[in-house]
C-alpha cells in the first residue's frame, strides 16, 4: 500500500486536493483488487499445472483437448462451474451451508494482507505479522467444520471432523517451529524477518545453524502442508473412503470456492515458508535484487512460493495417503518433540556469545548445497523428459 500511496503523491496536486482518508482507501481498494485478481485467477493456472504435472508423473498427457496443449481447459471448467446450478439438498441447513464456503474463502484471502512482496509492496506491516497469518487461518477451520455440519451428510461431517482435528494437531508444530525463527530474527514483523535475511542466499534462515534450521524448515513445511489438507495429509477428502469429504454436497460455484480457498491457502502457506526460511523477497545474490533500477522483490517472492507450490504438487503425486492414526502420530510424536527440542537447542546457541550469530561454518553450506540440489533436480527432470520422449517415440513407432 505504501508503494501505491507514493505513486499517488507523484501525481501533481494530489496531496493538496485529495483528503488523506480518500487516498488511503483508494490505495487499499486498489491493493485489495490486485490481491483479488491474483487470488481468483491464480487457481486457473494452478489447476492446469497440477493436472499437467499429474499427467507427466503418471506417464500420460493430461488435458490436451481444449486449446493448444489443453491450455484453455481450466478456463472452460471455470465457465462451466459458473453456469452450473448450486444444488441445495433438502436436508442441509441453508444459512450455514451458504456461509461456510464464504468463511473458508475469507480465511484464505486475509493472509494476503501482510505478505511482504517488497519493502513497499505489502498490505500492512503488522508487528505480529507472522502470528496473524497463523491466527487468521483458524477462520478456514471453522468454515470447514461448518460446511460439514450444514451438509448433513455422513461423508461431509466425517471429512470436516477429521480436517478440524488434523488442522489443530498440525498447528502446534507450526507454531512451535515458528518460534525458532522469531528467536533468531527477534521480531514477528514479516518485513523485519526478511530484512534479517538480506544479503544473499547464505544469510537465509534455512542455512543458519546448519543443519538445525533445515530441520525446523522441514517441520514447518510439513505442518503447513498438512494444514492445507494436501496429500499425503488429505484424509479429510480422501476420495477412496469419503467421496469428497467436507465438500461432498457442494456443487457449482460453491464447490469452486472451496478450490479457490485451497489453492490460495497453498500459495499463502508457501509464501510464508519462503518469507520465514528462504529470504522472502530477498534475492539469492544481492546483484539480482534490482533490474534496471527496479526492485524485483515481488518476482523473487512469487518465484520462491511457486517453487514450493510445485513441491506440494510433486508430493501429491508421489506419496500415498496416511492413515488417521499415522497422521496424528506424525504431528504429536514426531514433529512436535523435534520442534520443542529445536527451541531449547537454538535458544542455548543464541545465548552463547560464540554462536550467537550462527555456526562458523554456516556461510559455506548454503551455496554448494543449493547448487547440488538444483543440479540434481535438473538432471532428474532431464532424464524424466528423455524417458517420456522415448515412450512417445516407441508408441508412435
Amino acid at each position: 500500500m505504501d508503494a501505491l500511496l507514493r505513486l499517488f503523491s507523484l501525481i501533481p496536486g494530489w496531496d493538496q486536493n485529495v483528503p488523506a482518508w480518500a487516498s488511503i482507501s483508494l490505495a487499499g481498494l486498489l491493493a485489495a483488487g490486485l490481491c483479488l485478481g491474483f487470488i481468483s485467477l491464480g487457481p486457473v493456472g494452478y489447476v492446469y499445472v497440477e493436472r499437467k504435472l499429474a499427467g507427466f508423473m503418471q506417464d500420460r498427457l493430461g488435458p490436451m483437448r481444449v486449446g493448444p496443449w489443453g491450455l484453455l481447459q481450466t478456463i472452460a471448467d471455470t465457465i462451466k462451474l459458473l453456469f452450473k446450478e448450486a444444488i441445495f439438498p433438502a436436508a442441509v441447513n441453508r444459512p450455514l451451508f451458504v456461509v461456510a464456503p464464504c468463511l473458508v474463502v475469507i480465511g484464505a484471502f486475509m493472509g494476503f494482507a501482510v505478505l511482504p512482496f517488497s519493502p513497499t509492496w505489502q498490505g500492512t506491516d503488522l508487528d505480529v505479522g507472522a502470528f496473524y497469518v497463523i491466527a487468521i487461518g483458524s477462520l478456514s477451520t471453522v468454515g470447514l467444520i461448518m460446511a460439514g455440519w450444514a451438509s448433513n451428510n455422513k461423508y461431509a461431517l466425517f471429512g470436516a471432523m477429521r480436517s478440524a482435528a488434523q488442522i489443530v494437531s498440525y498447528e502446534i508444530p507450526a507454531v512451535m517451529s515458528l518460534i525458532v525463527v522469531v528467536m533468531i530474527a527477534g521480531s514477528l514483523s514479516l518485513q523485519q524477518i526478511v530484512a534479517a535475511q538480506a544479503g544473499g542466499l547464505h544469510n537465509w534462515f534455512l542455512w543458519k545453524f546448519f543443519p538445525l534450521n533445515v530441520i525446523a524448515f522441514l517441520v514447518f513445511f510439513t505442518a503447513t502442508l498438512a494444514e492445507c489438507n494436501r496429500t499425503p495429509f488429505d484424509i479429510p477428502e480422501a476420495e477412496s473412503e469419503l467421496v469428497a469429504g467436507f465438500h461432498t454436497e457442494y456443487s457449482g460455484f460453491f464447490f469452486a470456492m472451496f478450490f479457490l480457498a485451497e489453492y490460495t491457502e497453498m500459495f499463502v502457506a508457501s509464501a510464508m515458508v519462503s518469507v520465514l526460511f528462504l529470504g522472502g523477497f530477498a534475492a539469492p545474490l544481492p546483484v539480482l535484487q534490482t533490474v534496471a533500477g527496479f526492485d524485483i522483490g515481488p518476482v523473487w517472492l512469487i518465484a520462491k512460493a511457486w517453487a514450493l507450490v510445485f513441491v506440494h504438487m510433486w508430493l501429491r503425486w508421489t506419496l500415498p495417503r496416511l492413515r488417521v492414526d499415522q497422521l496424528m502420530h506424525v504431528a504429536w510424536k514426531v514433529l512436535l518433540p523435534i520442534a520443542l527440542f529445536l527451541i531449547v537447542v537454538i535458544g542455548g546457541l543464541l545465548t552463547a556469545p560464540a554462536t550467537a550469530g550462527g555456526f562458523p561454518w554456516d556461510p559455506w553450506f548454503g551455496w554448494p548445497l543449493t547448487a547440488l540440489l538444483c543440479g540434481y533436480l535438473m538432471l532428474t527432470a532431464l532424464r524424466a523428459w528423455r524417458w517420456h520422449a522415448r515412450q512417445v517415440r516407441e508408441a508412435v513407432a
Partner: protein, 117 residues
C-alpha cells in the same frame, strides 16, 4: 484509528464482498431447478439411512483439548521469544524452566497414551 489496520479492514470488506458477489452471480447464472432426486442426501446411489448427525468419538474432543493447552503455552512463549536475543543467560534459564514444565507435561501425556489416536 490506527492506520496499520486499515488495509486489513479493507481486505476484509473486499473479501466479504467477493464472497457475496460470487453467491449472487452463481445464483443468477445457474438457475436452481431442484428435483427430488437432486436434493436427496448423497449416499453413493442409495437412500441414506438415518441422520448424519450421530454422536462422534470423544477422541476429537480430547485432541482439541490438548491442542488448546499447547496453544496457550505457545502464546506464552512468543512475547519473550521476541526479545530473546537481548535477555542473555537469564533468558536461557527462564526458557529452560518453562520448557521443562511444558516438556514434563508433554512427556506425561505421551506416557499415559493421551497422544495415541
Amino acid at each position: 484509528m490506527l492506520p496499520v489496520y486499515v488495509p486489513i479492514l479493507i481486505l476484509a470488506v473486499v473479501a466479504i464482498g467477493f464472497a457475496a458477489f460470487t453467491i449472487v452471480a452463481s445464483h443468477l447464472l445457474g438457475q436452481p431447478r431442484p428435483t427430488d432426486a437432486k436434493s436427496a442426501v448423497y449416499e453413493c446411489g442409495m437412500p441414506a439411512i438415518g441422520t448424519a448427525r450421530e454422536r462422534f468419538p470423544i477422541k476429537f474432543y480430547l485432541v482439541c483439548m490438548i491442542f488448546i493447552l499447547l496453544d496457550v503455552d505457545a502464546a506464552f512463549l512468543y512475547p519473550w521469544a521476541l526479545i530473546y536475543p537481548q535477555l542473555g543467560w537469564f533468558g536461557f534459564v527462564e526458557m529452560l524452566v518453562f520448557m521443562t514444565l511444558l516438556g514434563g507435561g508433554f512427556a506425561y501425556a505421551w506416557k499415559v497414551g493421551a497422544l495415541d489416536w
